[in-house]
């Protein structure tokens, strides 16, 4: 079991790294998908089955596809693959910051007491229970989420639609 963790971790990390470093945008999104798969695997490893399934469905099935569509819509007419330069201005600032954060977190976590804990077993939760919880105890966040999603839907449509009305 441990080795699966390591393999999944490596896949995840590779996926993430490739997602942010590749030149070709499509390749980036494809590595992102790989990343999502890795994460999903980790969820399964952590006995959160529903969550893993949801991850695959929503992230890979919706978000990644959406990103592909966005990429397709924002290409230059001439067929350019996006900006020539890969890195933005002063990229080292960002990179440095991230490295600092990683370093700090690693330093923190390494010595932490809690971090030494070992996993304990958990009861499996069934989908039915999740469903019951959603409309039972967690109905308010559920409804709020619904509203949010509706708003986001309308908003996205409106934002992306402006072009039609406001022709330059």
């Amino acid at each position: 079991m441990d080795t699966i963790f390591w393999i999944l971790s490596i896949i995840t990390i590779i996926g993430a790294v490739m997602a942010i470093t590749l030149r070709n945008l499509i390749h980036c999104v494809l590595s992102l998908i790989l990343f999502f798969l890795g994460i999903a695997g980790h969820y399964f490893l952590l006995r959160a089955d529903f969550l893993g399934a949801v991850q695959v469905l929503i992230y890979i099935g919706a978000v990644a596809v959406l990103m592909l569509f966005a990429i397709m819509l924002t290409r230059h007419v001439t067929g350019d693959e996006g900006p020539r330069e890969v890195l933005g201005g002063k990229w080292w600032a960002g990179m440095g910051t991230a490295v600092i954060i990683a370093g700090l977190l690693w330093a923190i976590i390494r010595k932490d007491q809690i971090a030494q804990a070992l996993p304990a077993g958990v009861a499996k939760t069934s989908v039915a229970e999740i469903g019951k919880a959603l409309v039972g105890d967690w109905v308010v966040p559920f409804e709020a989420m619904a509203v949010l999603l509706t708003a986001a839907l309308i908003g996205a449509v409106v934002i992306a639609l402006e072009e039609v009305i406001r022709k330059r």
Binding site: G88, G89, A93, G94, T97, I101, L104, L105, I108
Partner: protein, 693 residues
Amino acid sequence: MDHADYLQHLTRQQWLIPLFPLVAAAIQSLLKRPARKLSAALTIIAMGLSCIFAVRAFLATIGGGEHHEVVRTVFNFTWFKFSDTASLDLGFILDPLTAGMAAMVTFVGFWIFVNATGYMHDDENFTRFFCFLSLFAASMLGLVISNNLLMLFMCWELVGLCSYLLIGFWYFKPSAAAAMKKAFIATRIGDVGFFLGILMLYWKSGTLNLYTHDPIHPGALEQAGALAQLTGWWGLSAASTIAFLLFIGAMGKSAQFPLHVWLPDAMEGPTPVSALIHAATMVAAGVFMIGRMYPLFTAEPGAWVMDFVMWIGCITAVFSATIAVAQFDIKRVLAYSTCSQLGFMVMGLGAHSLVAGQFHLLTHAFFKALLFLGAGCVIVGTHHEQDMRKMGGLRKYMPITFLCYVIGTLALSGFPLTAGFFSKDEILLATYHHSKLAWILGTFAAFLTAFYMTRQIFMVFFGRWRGGDEDRGHGQEHKSHDERGHEHHEPHEVPWNMWLPFAMLSVFALLMGWLGTPWFHDNLFHHYIAPEEVASESSNLVMGLSIAVALFGILLGWLIYGRKTMEHATDPDPLAPTLGGLFVFLNHKWYIDELYEATVYRFTATCGMFFRLFDKLVVDGILHAIAWVVWAISQVFRWVGDEFFINGGFDSGCESVRLGGKVLAKLQSGRMQNYFRVLSLGAAILLLMYFFT
């Protein structure tokens, strides 16, 4: 009260005599012009009051003291003190000389003022004229009553000022403006000597009071004997040096050669001015001053000062008489005649005879004023014609004027039994005893006097009226009223306010002489003025010769001018062909004015130019240099302080703020990725803080 106290009382009131005209002048200067009747009334009434006071004082001094000595009463007061011992005083005196002069000045002045109301009738500056006349009268009277050389000098200067103002009364005429300047400057030159004399007197005697009747602090004239012991300059004693310096002042004021040049030009003023100032009073001030300071002149017997005085007088007398022969302007003849008579007076004084000089001064005042007023009447009557060649036959038109003019002429010529005869005779007598040559020249001058006055009479009053001969313009004397389109009317007699005065004066001209003759009460005047003086020995030669030359002069005048009068205004003077070039020389006043112009004026002008150049180059140069230095310093301050520190500092401060703003503005790049970066940096720092604390 007894007589001495009465005299003292009068002396204290002496200041009233000049006060009335002074007040009149002050009031007139504040009047809203024109106020003709009021100003004339003020002047004449003031003068009348002064006359009453002066005559009162005069009457009090007649009779003298118990021993027939001259009584002098003085009243001195301190003006301001320098210290306990030194101070400047002023004072009044009442003695025969003063009283006689004051009476004469007020009396003659009064009648001249009356005449002036008629003469200046058409003038638009009437009020200003009478104001100046009053001021002049006040200053002249102040001069006469003063017991203090400082007060005398102040009034002397004031009189000079009034003369200046009145000569140039019609200042818009350029010739009048030039004449007023010339008069003032010429008299000023004399005043330099006068002032030096005053200084020396103060230095040597310690006081400027003339008489003090105080044995402890004697007056200057009372110290005359002591001053004669001190040494002065030029081989004279102090007294004589002072006398000489004072005489220089008199030379200027009384128009003696060589400072006589201003008197003929002073005829530019109105005729009443000429009558009052330049015949009777102001020019007499010099002679009066010599008389006043006579103890200084006579203190050192044998000094050359008196001889100098006598010779200057003699030269002036002859010199002016010769010029008068060849003049054509009626007033110029009278002016040179005045000059000549002043020479006579000075000659008399120089011949050690105060009596003769002063007596001639008094008589001359009357008949010269008379003659000038007559000339004024003639001028008015002929509608402002002054050239004698254009007159003639006025006897028919102006009988009263003619009569009085003849009386004046006879008096001036020294016709026997007139006032002028007695006074001139006194002078010639005194001169005879001192210098035969001077006496001969004086007699020659008397001859010329008779001659040119007769010439004038015949030219003006006899013959044919030549005024309508040629339209040569309206005479030389400009009046300030507007032209009324004069045709050449026939001349007419003048109104009563013009002929009455000289009727009065002619009486005196005739009769006054009896006061000074030994035939009448043994020369009353002599006893009155200076009884201590030794009377000159009477000489029949002198008297006979005086009468002879007077008559001969009149005869010659009649021969040349009377038998065959000038027919036309353009005819030459009958004397001209005979004398030829000499006539022209005399007509041009011996070219003295031209001589002065070539020498003195040119020298002064050159000096002036030199000093102007000096001023421009040196003084202005220094000024410009200082200004440049100041400017340069200010530039340095500006550059260093202002530009460098203040401006620079301020500018760089602003610049740094601007740059700072520019730098900080880069934070607002608008790129949200940058904002995100900053955000994560902040998070990292927070983590850092968590980690390390």
